[in-house]
Amino acid sequence: MERKEWPLWEIFVRSKNGLDHKHCGSVHATDARMALQVARDVYTRRQEGVSIWAVRAEDIVASDPDAKPELFDPAEDKIYRHPTFYKLPDEVDHM
């Protein structure tokens, strides 16, 4: 049989309820059930998680690193979006 590598899956783990799923690594698996099982065996051996997402790596769409300037730089000067931009009197500054 011709060589066929097992597909790659990206694994995201929620460490506890109330927190987001966070990318923690990848596994190779031939189907979704296997991906979840081995993700459990690889990435939650020390009770690191309560929920796992497995996503076929080839299904992920990522932004182009070359597009960093047009995608992300324009937010740089919008400092009025941040709470620290507004100076309030000390008595009410906890607002």
Binding site: M1, W6, V27, H28, A29, T30, R33, M34, Q37, V38, D41, V42, R45
Partner: protein
């Protein structure tokens, strides 16, 4: 484990717990042999996790057996310093790994049995045993899922994997007779509410197992008169070799602690 009812441990009760403990011990030992040698890295970790579950169960069960016995034997004394004929695991547990199909078929057949066993033992009159069962039940669910999925992949995979899975099933199936063989120990344990007579689990076990084997396109072998007797202390030739390896250090250095 809480203090057990020391009032009267019947020999059947002790025997019943020893069977469970030895089954976990020997199956765990076999699974651990895969560590570093599995077909794919992900599965290497999965097999080690299952082995760890069984070693953990063996520790709890043998400790409990030691307490029930009341002669001061702890988990390690029981695990390492008995003679072959004193082990009470079903013969199926000690069968060699041979290939990945044997390990998965065996793990699935035993796992399906354990799943039924632990769910019944959650209501054991022996509270310590019930607590062990509650923990082990969760582990067994995962074992059945993982090994069952593999049985299906191998059975319904390539021509070679089907052939190997069928060969493993043909080889191991006769040893499942032993699991359900009626005997006085089971009757006494069941009567005392310690746990089910194993023969009571036969019907549910067969139903669960056959469904997966069918999905895997495997042919269930016909029942034959073959009988094995591991849980009564008469084992296959394989156990002696397994014990020779496993017991090597405690036997070579009597009295040493590690």
């Amino acid at each position: 484990m809480g203090a057990p009812a020391m009032t009267q441990t019947t020999p059947a009760h002790l025997e019943y717990v020893l069977r469970l403990g030895d089954a976990a011990l020997i199956h765990g030992q076999r699974l651990s042999e895969w560590c570093g040698h599995a077909p794919v890295l992900e599965e290497d970790l999965a097999l080690a996790n299952m082995a760890l579950d069984f070693v953990g169960q063996a520790r709890m069960l043998l400790s409990h057996a030691g307490v029930l016995e009341g002669k001061g034997r702890d988990e390690d004394t029981l695990a390492f310093l008995r003679h072959e004929g004193q082990y009470r695991n079903p013969t199926l547990c000690e069968m060699p790994n041979t290939d990945f199909a044997h390990t998965m078929i065996k793990g699935f057949l035993l796992g399906s049995f354990n799943l039924l066993m632990w769910s019944r033992l959650c209501g054991s009159s022996d509270e310590a045993l019930a607590a062990i069962a509650a923990k082990s039940l969760k582990e067994a669910r995962y074992h059945v899922e993982h090994t069952g999925d593999w049985v299906i992949r191998l059975g319904d995979g390539t021509e070679e994997s089907h052939r190997r899975a069928q060969a493993a099933l043909d080889m191991l199936w006769p040893y499942t007779n032993e699991l359900f063989a009626a005997n006085p120990t089971d009757d006494a344990a069941a009567a005392a509410g310690v746990g089910p007579a194993w023969s009571d689990l036969a019907e549910d076990w067969e139903k669960a197992v056959l469904a997966v084997l069918k999905h895997a396109t495997l042919t269930v072998p016909a029942r034959t008169p073959f009988q094995s007797y591991g849980k009564f202390g008469r084992h296959s030739e394989h156990l002696g070799h397994l014990l020779a390896v496993m017991q090597h250090l405690p036997r070579s250095f009597p009295g040493a602690t590690w």
